[in-house]
Amino acid sequence: MKFVLKAALLVLALCVATSTFAARAPKSAVFGSAHDFKTQLGGASYTLCNFCHVAHKFGSAPVGPGYLLWNHTLSSVASYGVYTSDSMRSTPTDLGGQLVVSNLCLSCHDGTVAINSWYEGQAAANFQPLPQGTLFMPDDTTVRDLTKQHPVNFVYPDATTAAAIGIQPAADQFSVDGNGNVPLFQGRMQCATCHDPHAGPSSGAHLFFRTFPSTPAQTLTGTSCVYCHL
């Protein structure tokens, strides 16, 4: 009897847990992370954001995307390939030549463009220009062949198809969870669905992984994969 009651309470607790909100990392959490080039490269005081973003593209600034005010040189790779599998029903679109949010990530992470390659050059702490085009991603963080990566840039399944394939259906066009913690971009999964490039170790994240809404399955399996892969 005691056991039954305990079990019931556990079920209740788990159900409640599924509806708890996840905490989003503040942008400042990028400080001290692997994405903090200000610290790593000894950038000027204002450069914590400027390795990736720039607030204004004035006069002589190189042509570049306004999208997220991106300041890093984009890759010119024409095709990355797309992931396929026998069981996957969605069809990703090749990111080569595209300009969606994942292309911003790939501007460093496909390994073809130097990390220190900007539209608007950066200054060191002594306000001397930092060198451009000399530092590349190490192999273990490079994802040049997208046939070997978790698929991105595909329409995430909605409720009508997700059930049949054991996937958590998207709540809306903007996120899987409906609260923006597992974001989608025009209904598509992108790198940033799982990763928040600002989520450094100070936010408790590992590998810039987002904090998904807690579910019993994630707790039990020890992995966030099962937030979507039911």
């Binding site: 039954v4 019931a8 079920v11 788990l14 026998d86 994802v143 054991g166 039911l230």
Partner: protein, 622 residues
């Protein structure tokens, strides 16, 4: 307390749908045999990893990309399944086959914790622990996949092999290939809670196997629908059931087959030949004990003596297994499967010459010597081996004691006949013949001894076996068990020509005379009792018709006074002479004029020229 119970129940029921949304396939892996987390309840598990996915999957830089595989792949090739009846082309598993991913653990060559992106994960069983060859999970523990259901191939469809319906859990991959994942879901161990084994759905009564393998006749076969539920449930693990289910009905295909590591690779048969049948048919499950027939009887079909010579592909066109056999030296065989098709066999009764349910669906050779994929008539099954086979040993068996069958009478009209002992030729070409392949249509005047129904040894009618001049009979009306239910008497002993203590696997006695030193010489003969000729008496009223001289007026003189046996003058199969007269040359010889001849002039009338029991007949008429 009671209230608490109700609240708890309410919470459980109310909470269930909430949990259900979170318990799809992937999380079912928890605490299954594929859950290698350190805290898993699986026996095989890592020492410290808390991530259930990482052993197989990685989100980035997977190898290969499909299914984001993180486990290091095997580079070994093992031979794949083949069989003489396989219609599909099975090639070694290819790198793009998803089965290759399963084999990264299940061929035993790669450690369970050996990952591409997460290093070598230590297991409780040790760092670098791979499935040992003794593990049932190691498909290549025996260095081959030949004894595993084939995978990584496109099945060639047939009326008995279908692709699964689109709605079914069982499925082929996108290129139409069968893969491990056609039957197994590596994330869910208990879709079949009894067999487990990560099956995609319940395999009770072989529901999973039958998704593709729809064997003709199986739906009404006794092996699918065992007629006696008490007997059925005697088939348990100790009898050989390996699925966790009890009963042949529930074990289905796997009562006889095993998709992985069967004893016999071809057709994935669990045990060698008759042993697979003897799981049940030895008296332990099915009360009728067939094994005892073969073990205990003097004369048997040599099922126990001919290992591994039967092949399911044998037919006249088979290069390796021609049947009927084409050369004298070919080994002969008789296996259960030569006469019985376990997929089709059922309890249907039949009248001669048609096969009954027990013999449905086996190959045959027709009276006209054509190969039949499925025999229609019982004699066609017998003719496979007792017709035109070149290796029949009876022709060489001329000794007075016989060699294995009892004495073989050397018939007058077999002499010089290349087809001696070719029962197909005998029955189809004889002038006179027992009506096996065709009705004889003799009148009661010509055969006054013919009964109106077959009778038991005690003289009682055998159910449903009427006799008339137009009747046909089965080979098994004479060649059958000497103790079985075929005798028309009560008892729990099996019928069928499996074995008999009487020569030539006869069901009742048909006494032969001991040959004299010189044929035609004085012979002690057979002291007449009705039981000596019980076989003939089954259809022919020996006491009140034959020995009352209703047909041949000298029967009583010959059989009782001179102690001649029926077989001395009559060939029970057929003869080129009338009235099955075909003298046994071990007893009967040409007369002093060198003539050996029987001439019939009409019903009950004829003449004989011969020498027998020291008596000379010179065209002696009656």
């Amino acid at each position: 307390m009671r209230a608490a119970k109700h609240i708890a129940l309410f919470l459980l029921l109310g909470g269930a749908p909430c949990l259900q949304a979170q318990t799809g396939n992937k999380t079912s892996i928890l605490n299954s045999k594929h859950d290698f987390r350190a805290v898993s309840s699986a026996q095989l598990r890592s020492t410290s990893t808390d991530d259930a996915c990482v052993f197989c999957h990685t989100p980035h830089n997977a190898s290969p990309g499909s299914y984001l595989w993180n486990h290091r792949l095997s580079t070994r090739d093992f031979s794949s399944y083949s069989s003489s009846t396989l219609q599909s082309t099975v090639t070694p598993v290819q790198p793009q086959d998803v089965s290759k991913l399963c084999l990264s653990c299940h061929d035993g060559t790669i450690a369970l914790g050996d990952t591409v992106n997460d290093g070598s994960i230590e297991f409780v069983q040790g760092n670098g622990y791979a499935l040992p060859s003794s593990s049932a999970s190691n498909l290549a523990g025996d260095q081959t996949f030949a004894n595993d259901h084939p995978f990584g191939f496109v099945p060639r469809l047939s009326p008995e092999l279908l692709i699964p319906p689109a709605s079914d859990a069982v499925r082929l991959d996108r290129s139409g290939k069968l893969q491990c994942t056609s039957c197994h879901d590596p994330h869910r161990e208990n879709a079949d809670p009894t067999t487990r084994k990560f099956l995609l759905k319940s395999n009770q009564a072989s529901a999973l196997c039958l998704t593709c393998h729809q064997k003709n006749g199986w739906d009404v076969s006794v092996h699918n629908l065992p007629p006696d539920p008490v007997e059925d449930l005697r088939y348990t693990e100790s009898q050989g059931a390996h699925t966790g289910y009890t009963g042949v009905r529930n074990n289905g295909c796997e009562s006889c087959h095993r998709p992985h590591a069967p004893q016999v690779s071809q057709r994935l048969v669990k045990q060698l030949e008759e042993n697979v049948c003897f799981q049940c048919h030895d008296g332990t499950v099915v009360t009728l004990n067939l094994k005892a027939e073969f073990l205990g009887k003097t004369y048997t079909h040599p099922v126990l003596l001919t290992p591994s010579t039967h092949d399911a592909a044998e037919d006249p066109n088979s290069a390796s297994n021609p049947l009927p056999e084409t050369s004298v030296g070919m080994p002969r065989h008789a296996e259960c499967m030569d006469c019985h098709n376990a997929h089709k066999t059922n309890a249907a009764a039949a009248q001669p010459p048609l096969v009954n349910g027990a013999l449905l669906g086996v190959k045959g050779q027709s009276a006209g010597n054509s190969f039949l994929p499925e025999a229609v008539n019982e004699y066609e099954i017998c003719f496979k081996c007792h017709g035109d086979s070149a290796n029949k040993p009876q022709a060489l068996d001329k000794g007075s004691a016989g060699a294995g069958y009892g004495r073989n009478p050397q018939r007058q009209l077999d002499a010089g006949n290349l087809n001696a002992f070719n029962t197909r030729v005998e029955f189809t070409m004889g002038t006179s013949f027992h009506p096996v392949t065709r009705a004889r249509n003799l009148s009661v005047v010509e055969v006054p001894s013919l009964r109106t129904t077959m009778v038991t040894s005690g003289g009682a009618p055998v159910n449903n076996r009427p006799l008339s001049g137009g009747s046909q009979i089965y080979c098994t009306d004479c060649h059958n068990s000497d103790t079985g239910r075929n005798l028309g008497i009560a008892g729990n002993l099996p019928s069928g020509p499996h074995g008999s203590n009487l020569p030539h696997i006869l069901e009742r006695n048909s006494a032969l005379e001991l040959p004299p030193a010189v044929a035609g010489g004085t012979s002690s003969g057979v002291t007449y009792t009705l039981s000596s000729y019980a076989l003939c008496d089954k259809c022919h009223d020996v006491q009140n018709s034959v020995l009352a001289d209703r047909s041949f007026g000298k029967h009583q003189l010959h059989v009782i006074e001179q102690r001649a046996a029926c077989s001395t003058c009559h060939d029970p199969h057929a003869s080129a002479a009338p009235m099955l007269v075909n003298f046994d040359l071990s007893i009967v010889a040409p007369n002093s004029q060198g003539v050996l001849q029987f001439t019939r002039t009409g019903p009950g009338h004829g003449s004989c020229s011969l020498r027998c029991h020291g008596q000379d007949h010179g065209n002696e008429s009656y």
